[in-house]
C-alpha cells in the first residue's frame, strides 16, 4: 500500500464519480472526509459501489459510515469527547484558568464492517485487537512526543 496521500479536487457533483475512478486506480484506500459536496446521502451509495468495483476499501469517520458500507471507521462518541473535555476542564482549573489549544481525540472507538471485509477478501483482526494496537501506537507516539 502506498504511503503517500493523493488529494483530488472537484468543483461540482457530476465530476465526482469519474474523478473517483481515476483516483482509485492509483490509490489503495479511500478516506472519507466530512465534505457535504462529496459525501452526502445521495452520493454515499454510488461512491461505495465504485470502490467495491475497484476492490478498494473505504474508511469512514462515523459509525453510520460503517453501517452504510465502509470497511471501518475510527470515531469518538459523545461520551468519549465529553470525558476528554471534562478532564481538560479539571486540569485547567487546577493549573491555570486558560484552556489548552485544540487537540486530537484521546478516546476513540473503532468499528469494522466484516461483511465488507469478506466481500473485498481482506483478512481483518477483530475490533478489540485493532483497538488495542491503535491505543498502543497512540501511547508510544505520546511518549516519543514527550521525549
Amino acid at each position: 500500500m502506498p504511503d503517500t496521500t493523493d488529494i483530488e479536487y472537484i468543483s461540482q457533483e457530476s465530476e465526482l464519480i469519474p474523478q473517483l475512478k481515476k483516483t482509485l486506480e492509483n490509490n489503495g484506500v479511500l478516506l472519507v472526509v466530512p465534505d457535504a459536496l462529496i459525501f452526502n446521502r445521495e452520493t454515499a451509495q454510488p461512491i461505495l459501489l465504485t470502490t467495491y468495483r475497484h476492490q478498494k476499501p473505504v474508511f469512514g469517520y462515523s459509525l453510520s459510515y460503517v453501517k452504510a458500507g465502509t470497511l471501518a471507521a475510527v470515531y469518538s462518541t459523545a461520551k468519549q469527547i465529553a470525558k476528554q473535555a471534562g478532564e481538560l476542564a479539571v486540569k485547567a482549573e487546577q493549573v491555570s484558568s486558560l484552556l489548552p489549544p485544540p487537540q486530537a481525540p484521546r478516546y476513540f472507538s473503532i468499528t469494522v464492517n466484516y461483511q465488507v471485509a469478506r466481500s473485498l477478501s481482506l483478512p481483518i483482526l477483530d475490533e478489540d485487537a485493532i483497538d488495542k494496537k491503535m491505543h498502543q501506537a497512540e501511547t508510544s507516539e505520546h511518549e516519543v512526543g514527550r521525549n
Binding site: L48, L49, Y52, G69, Y114, Q115, R118
Partner: protein, 133 residues
C-alpha cells in the same frame, strides 16, 4: 390376418401407419411445447435475476441484509407466479430469502449441489425454477 382380404389389409396397414405417424407428431409437438415453456421460464428468470442482481449488489457487499430482505419480498410481490426469492453471496450462503419454506427434499438436492445455508434459511435457486401452480 390370413382371413382378411387384400382391401382390409391395405386399410389396416394405412391406418397403422397413420396412427404411428400421429403418435410421433403428437410426441414431437408435446415435447416442443415443453421446450418452449421451459425456455420462456428460463428467460423470465433470467430477466428477474438481471434486474435483481445489480440492485442487490450494494446490499450484498455492504452487509445491509434488511434491505436485501425487503428487496426479495418486493420481487415476490411484483411477480405473482414466483414462489421464492433467495439472495446469496458468492459462496452460496443465503443472505436474504422470501416466500414459503422450501420442502426438505428440494433442500437436500440443493445442499447436494453445493449450496450452503445460513441461520436456517433456505438455499439457492436451481433450474427448473419453482413456480406456483
Amino acid at each position: 390376418m390370413k382371413n382378411l382380404g387384400i382391401k382390409t389389409r391395405v386399410i389396416l396397414l394405412g391406418t397403422l401407419l397413420a396412427l404411428l405417424l400421429d403418435i410421433i407428431l403428437a410426441g414431437y409437438a408435446i415435447s416442443n411445447i415443453f421446450k418452449v415453456l421451459n425456455q420462456s421460464l428460463h428467460n423470465r428468470v433470467r430477466i428477474i435475476r438481471s434486474q435483481l442482481a445489480p440492485a442487490a449488489e450494494y446490499g450484498v457487499i455492504s452487509g445491509k441484509y434488511s434491505a436485501l430482505k425487503q428487496m426479495a419480498k418486493q420481487a415476490l410481490n411484483n411477480e405473482r407466479k414466483l414462489k421464492s426469492v433467495l439472495i446469496t453471496d458468492r459462496d452460496g450462503s443465503v443472505l436474504a430469502a422470501s416466500g414459503p419454506k422450501i420442502p426438505e427434499a428440494i433442500l437436500a438436492k440443493l445442499i447436494d449441489a453445493g449450496v450452503k445455508t445460513c441461520n436456517g434459511l433456505m438455499a439457492l435457486y436451481f433450474p427448473p425454477l419453482l413456480i406456483a401452480a
